[in-house]
């Protein structure tokens, strides 16, 4: 029993309540409190993470409380390596998002004073953000599948309101689409969760105890399908990806970062942990179709991204492409690919986060998300342009930046995966490599159109980044570059837990034996 995780989850909730209960007119105070709370969580997480022993048992900082004994549900939390890094990703992003959306609810004005979004309740926004933080931590930390499900679904609601109330012009459409897609997937997963409980007969939802309880292959396939569809919707995999561009484009920049950076990771995280480990046979049986879907996502996302005129939609489509990589890595079932996928989740969070935020700052200045409305930002706001460029390059996985490591690991791992027979996935790996080229096209083209060329008239009024905005982007860029050169700390944490996963999936040991850090 370790109190760490419950404390981590409780702090933001308390913060949210405090923020919500602040008296009217104390908007500024609300922001400050939120920032403080999120920083506190960050510090606490750091301290906790320092105590994580990568070589120790799989789940650490475990805590279990009886929650609903009638259903056999426990409030069970604990983290393995993958979960830890994803929690870390979340708690790092939250303060950044707080800073980034400092004025989002105040009514976003362009440089020339036109209002993009009207003034809305600041307190609500930030308390929703803190609630969301709790749920993000909870969803990664849950070792009880029921608890996982609860957070998985409940997470939608604050995000729904953040998009719906604080987003762009099409926000309500986007919010509803987002909610219904996710909800539908979630409900299918609910059936599977119940099925797991009922069919498994072990009268518990605790993940470690459920591994291997489903032996019947047909049942495995059904339940796998239930889980996988939910996760595929969440980590938008073609063809159920359509909600993401809308949601990401309409969400305020900060919410978009959390949406794409963290929420969608729940899907891939779930695939890695639950789909593979609970239903190894089904996972293997379904690998080929899933890999095909992943490849389609990768290529489709990239191609469609090229055609986008809206920056945020473009970034969303790049994400779809990247999620294709992650799914590919997960289902390659080799340790390199799976570790790469796990690492990719983190790196993508940083990279896309930075890109969204930088784009958000641009949009906040110009009032338009369309690439065609920009040009020559480089000359007017060099700092902003610089950050935008670095973030963009991270998005195309430039060597030396963090994404490259993970993308490379996924491709190598997939190519060499023997889990499904030697060379079965090599074609997939090769096709996915094509997407790297496409990525260069969409990112560089956007960067070029926005930053270079003749300076558009409205752009001339742009101010460069202020201190707050620098504080938003600088840590992300630092992390991108840092992990690009030195991913070992992350991999050290991730690898053992991926090993656990693969052991439970019973992939041939030959691939496990061939260890490598990729670098």
């Amino acid at each position: 029993m370790s109190p760490w995780l419950p404390i981590l989850m409780a702090v933001p909730v308390v913060g949210a309540i405090v923020v919500a209960l602040l008296p009217k007119g104390s908007d500024k105070l609300a922001k400050q409190v939120t920032l403080l709370v999120s920083l506190l969580v960050l510090v606490l997480t750091g301290v906790m993470a320092a105590g994580f022993n990568p070589g120790g048992e799989r789940f650490q900082f475990r805590a279990e409380y009886n929650w609903i004994p009638s259903f056999g549900v426990k409030f069970g939390v604990g983290v393995d390596g993958v979960a830890l890094v994803l929690i870390a990703l979340s708690v790092v992003l939250v303060p950044i998002v707080v800073l980034a959306s400092w004025h989002d609810a105040d009514g976003v004005k362009t440089a020339d004073g036109t209002l993009i979004t009207p003034k809305r309740s600041v307190k609500t926004y930030f308390s929703l953000l803190l609630v969301l933080e709790t749920m993000m931590i909870g969803v990664f930390a849950a070792t009880d599948i029921f608890l996982f499900y609860v957070f998985f679904e409940a997470m939608l609601i604050p995000m729904y309101f953040m998009i719906g109330s604080y987003g762009g012009a099409q926000r309500s459409y986007a919010a509803v689409k987002f909610l219904l897609y996710s909800l539908f997937g979630g409900l299918l997963m609910l059936v599977a969760v119940i099925g797991l409980y009922v069919v498994g007969g072990s009268k518990t939802f605790m993940f470690p105890e459920l591994i291997g309880v489903i032996q019947d292959p047909a049942m495995q396939k059904w339940l796998f399908a239930g889980f996988f569809i939910a996760f595929a919707i969440k980590a938008p995999l073609w063809p159920v990806h359509t909600w993401l561009p809308d949601a990401a484009a309409q969400a305020p920049a900060g919410a978009a970062v959390l949406l794409v950076g963290v929420l969608d990771k729940v899907g891939t995280f779930g695939m890695l942990r639950f789909c593979l480990e609970l239903f190894p046979d089904a996972a293997k049986a379904f690998t080929m179709p899933i890999v095909v879907l992943a490849i389609i996502s990768i290529v489709y996302g990239a191609i469609v991204a090229i055609g986008q005129t809206d920056m945020k939609r473009l970034i969303a489509y790049t994400s779809i492409s990247h999620f294709g990589f992650i799914v590919l890595g997960v289902f390659a079932m080799s340790d390199i690919a799976s570790s790469g996928a796990a690492l990719y989740m983190v790196n993508h969070g940083f990279a896309t986060g930075a890109l969204f935020l930088a784009a958000g700052f641009l949009i906040a200045r110009r009032g338009s998300p369309f690439i065609g409305d920009y040009g020559g930002v480089q000359k007017v706001a060099p700092l902003l342009a610089g950050f935008f460029l670095v973030a963009g390059l991270a998005g195309l996985s430039l060597p030396g930046l963090s994404s490259f490591v993970s993308e490379f690991m996924v491709m190598i791992g997939t190519y060499s995966s023997t889990a499904h027979g030697s060379g079965a996935l090599s074609v997939a790996a090769i096709i996915s490599a094509v997407a790297v080229v496409l990525a260069a096209v969409y990112i560089l083209w956007m960067v070029q159109r926005v930053l270079n060329g003749p300076t558009a008239e409205p752009v001339k009024a742009f101010k460069d980044l202020n201190a707050r905005e620098v504080w938003v982007l600088a840590p992300l860029v630092a992390l991108i570059i840092g992990f690009g050169f030195f991913p070992k700390p992350l991999l050290d944490v991730i690898n053992p837990s991926v090993q656990h996963t693969l052991t439970n999936v019973h992939v041939p040991t030959s691939t496990i034996a061939e260890k490598g850090t990729g670098q």
Binding site: N66, W67, I68, P69, S70, F71, S121, T124, Y149, V150, F151, F152, E153, A154, L156, I157, Y160, F161, G164, S165, R171, S172, A175, V176, L179, L180, L183, F184, L187, L188, L190, V191, I194, G195, Y197, V198, V199, G201
Partner: protein, 528 residues
């Protein structure tokens, strides 16, 4: 010749019933003798106290561990664990509804007067906040609701059904605003209700012809000893089923629900949507479980179809609604379908029975209270002509009244079954029970149960759409310039909303609080 022995009656066990009926009778006397200006101030405490007293009596029975294991009153009423739980739920719900009813302005002063006539004006002038007959009528209805699920023979059930329904027919027609609508609702409810109870009764007759008795255990015994498929029996049970399914508003017998919910005064709608549903589901359980225990291979496929149809019809038709109360009515239909899934699951071993029963009881409790809360919110959003029923009038409510809209949104999320609300656990419990029953050894409907759950899931997803649509309307649309006024809620209404919210949140966070009680109640099962 005079060989009728004096029956024995367990007054202690039946005390909650007697208190409610007694208070209703006293209420009639108050109507008759108290001067008009005093009536309300007598009625309200009387009604609330009696409901509270009955609840306390239920509690006493539970706490002292005196849950009876044999039917009371010569086998007419069975006050077993589930019945006590249902009683508790109904009493709490009706208590809360009475607080809502107590609010001024929902009821007309003189129902018999032609709207706008001099008679009505006169009645309004000397009235003290509308019809005071409402209180005894509500008490009678509540008494019927208590008796309905506790009836141990079909005759008692029929009488209870009518005792419950007749006051409700009247109450439906007492709305102060939109009188024509209200009266029409009343008439439709009455005609259809009487029609369905005639079916119910004919079904009882057929069953009596088959079994020679109307006592539920007696019927079950007759079934056990006579395995062959008697047409009388089949006819009887289908007719009884029609009557019961009508009361819970299951498709295809749901047509009355939207009309009546829309036309009735909103506090009464709240009472019907919560209390009546709870009572009717309790009765359905008792009939199908106690009376038909030995015949389940026959009724389950039929209920399967009805449950699936109900969920789908409720969810899909709700989407097309533009009236908030009609929408909630269709939502109630869909929820009746979910509950029927639970009824389906009461098959197999005693353990499975208990699991399903627990699920249904829990669902009833949490759904009921959330419903009352939702309707309480509806009463507060008002146009000059009464409640702002049309959905378009609710646009932008989140900006005009963030608290109210937030609470309502929360209730809607609970209806939709979003985790961390009570509704989620209700739905979960029912689905889990259904899937669990599919794994019962020897159940030929295992796969079907899974199929039903999938239908349920699809229906929930569809249903989520229209709940979310209202939230979108409230929060993400701009308010109209002449939007509805938000009435200043009376203390009673505030209390209703607060209690509903607390329960919905509290149970959502810690469902074990109610689940535990439901579990205890369900473990003792119905007296068979």
């Amino acid at each position: 010749m005079n060989s009728i022995p004096a029956p024995t009656i367990e007054y202690g066990t039946l005390a909650p019933l007697l208190v409610v009926f007694g208070a209703a009778v006293i209420g009639v006397l108050v109507e008759a003798f108290a001067p008009r200006y005093l009536r309300k101030s007598i009625h309200v405490p009387l009604t609330l106290l009696s409901l509270f007293g009955a609840f306390a009596l239920v509690l006493v029975q539970v706490l002292r561990g005196q849950v009876s294991t044999v039917a009371s009153a010569m086998g007419a009423v069975a006050v077993d664990g589930p019945a006590l739980f249902i009683w508790g739920v109904i009493l709490v719900l009706s208590f809360v509804c009475v607080l809502l009813i107590n609010d001024e302005g929902h009821f007309v002063a003189s129902a018999a007067a032609v709207p706008g006539s001099a008679d009505e004006e006169e009645a309004e002038a000397e009235g003290s906040g509308g019809h005071t007959e409402v209180y005894p009528l509500v008490l009678f209805a509540v008494g019927g609701m208590l008796l309905f699920p506790a009836s141990h023979d079909l005759l008692m059930m029929f009488v209870a059904l009518e005792v419950m329904s007749l006051p409700l027919y009247l109450l439906c027609g007492l709305a102060r605003r939109r009188r024509l609508l209200s009266q029409e609702a009343s008439m439709k409810y009455f005609l259809l209700g009487a029609f369905s109870s005639a079916f119910f009764l004919y079904g009882i007759a057929m069953i009596y012809g088959f079994a020679g008795t109307v006592s539920l255990p007696g019927i079950n015994q007759a079934l056990a000893s006579n395995a062959q498929l008697d047409p009388l029996l089949m006819l009887g049970f289908s007719l009884v089923g029609v009557g019961l399914l009508f009361k819970i508003g299951a498709a295809p017998f749901h047509a009355w629900k939207p009309d009546v919910y829309q036309g009735a005064p909103t506090p009464i709608t709240a009472l019907m949507a919560s209390g009546t549903l709870v009572a009717a589901i309790g009765a359905v359980l008792r009939v199908f479980w106690v009376g038909l225990g030995n015949l389940d291979w026959n009724w389950r496929p039929a209920i399967w179809g009805v449950a699936a149809l109900t969920m789908i019809v409720g969810s899909i038709l709700a989407i097309t609604q533009t009236e908030i109360k009609r929408m909630l009515a269709y939502s109630s239909i869909a929820h009746a379908g979910f509950l029927l899934v639970g009824v389906m699951a009461t098959f197999g071993t005693a353990e499975q029975n208990a699991v399903s029963l627990k699920a249904i009881l829990f669902y009833l409790a949490v759904y009921g209270i959330t419903t009352v809360g939702a309707f309480a919110v509806v009463t507060l959003v008002r146009d000059p002509g009464g409640e702002a029923g049309h959905l378009s009038r609710w646009a932008g409510l989140g900006k005009r009244a963030p608290m109210l809209a937030g609470v309502f949104a929360f209730f809607l999320l609970a209806f939709a079954g979003i985790p961390l609300t009570s509704g989620f656990f209700g739905k979960y419990a029912v689905f889990a029970a259904a899937l669990n029953s599919g794994t019962q050894p020897g159940d030929s409907m295992g796969g079907w149960m899974a199929g039903l759950v999938v239908v349920g899931v699809v229906a929930s997803a569809i249903a989520a759409f229209f709940y979310v649509r209202v939230i979108v309307l409230m929060f993400f649309s701009e308010p109209a310039a002449d939007g509805p006024a938000i009435a200043v809620p009376s203390a009673g209404t505030v209390a209703v909303i607060a209690v509903s919210l607390l329960v919905t949140v509290g149970v959502g966070l810690y469902p074990e609080s109610v689940l535990g009680i439901a579990n205890d109640a369900a473990r003792s099962l119905f007296i068979r």
